[in-house]
Amino acid sequence: MKKTGYTLIEIMVSVSVFFVVSASLITFFSNSLKSQREILASQEMVDNISYAMEYMSRSLRMAVKDDIGGTNCLSGSKVNYELTRSGDGIKFQNYENNCQEFFLEDGRIKEWKSVSGVISEDYLTSENIEVDYFTIESSGSWDQDDDLQAEVTIYLQARTLLTADLSMQPEIKIQTSVSQRNLDVRY
């Protein structure tokens, strides 16, 4: 009589092959999910930081000199910009003559604005992003009599909080400088 069926060895081999193949497929699938999360988190951060940089650099570029001092926006008279919050913020008079400020608070960039007495505060970066550094540099150009056109350098370093693995958190380090459009003439 002809014997049909599988031997124990055959079954064991086929089961182990099945497990190895399915294990690698599952690993592959979970890795794809992980990297997709990372890509989405990275993209959200890039969009967000791009927005914040564009918004801040444009506002800073179009700022005007505060020639009243103290009564209007900045504490000094005839200065272009002023550092606030022990270097974590920058205040200026914007092109619509409103007082405006950008600063770092709890790992997020915030905007403070006073439009005809009405004060508003808004975050520029999402809660999913931790801003680790926000540097503002003047290169000594913010005074009235320095014969230097006012220049602001801002540096941002941020990472996303959406991916759990700390070492895999996408990070961005970005910097730009702006030269004020309004010519800084003495008067």
Partner: protein
């Protein structure tokens, strides 16, 4: 009759299986690259923008210093290939220096004798050409290498003596 697979058949089957697994992992790896390239491009773009602003700042400084009509509008902006960082205030001959991340203040700048500061992959070249006696063209290119591939972004702007 002998049934089953020959060694050649087994080796061939395993080869196909591993090739497809390898391909799948390579695909996964390469799908991550654009995300990181996105971040680098944004940084590079803003560094290039900074380059044009720094050159413009030199032009504006010339205007401000020119109260007695003694300072040319394009002083320090001669035709050539240059580099500069945020607080240099002047152009220096291009040598292809890499930007560092300075610790205090934390900014991207050139550091000639680094003491543990983190180096970045970015270099910036500023090219000035004369269009006319009242117009110069400023081209700023930021170069970097990522995953073995060279990338660059370029911004071109024109500066004039039209006050």
């Amino acid at each position: 009759m002998k049934s089953g697979f020959t060694l050649i058949e087994v080796v061939f089957a395993m080869f196909i299986l591993s090739m497809s697994a390898f391909g799948a992992f390579a695909l996964l790896e390469s799908s991550l690259a654009p995300a990181s390239l996105n971040r680098s491009s944004l940084t590079a773009y803003y560094l290039a923008q900074e380059g044009t602003e720094l050159v413009r700042n030199i032009r504006d400084n010339n205007w401000l210093e020119d109260r007695e009509g003694t300072v040319a509008w394009n002083e320090g902006l001669s035709v050539g290939i240059w580099e500069t960082d945020y607080d240099s205030g002047a152009l220096a001959a291009y040598t292809g220096r890499y930007f560092y991340i300075d610790d205090d203040p934390r900014v991207l700048s050139y550091i000639d004798s680094p003491a543990g500061e983190e180096i970045t992959k970015y270099r910036r070249k500023i090219t000035i050409n004369e269009v006319s006696s009242e117009v110069i063209q400023v081209s700023v290119v930021v170069y970097w290498t990522e995953r073995g591939t060279d990338h660059d972004v370029e911004i071109i702007s024109q500066l004039t003596d039209w006050r």
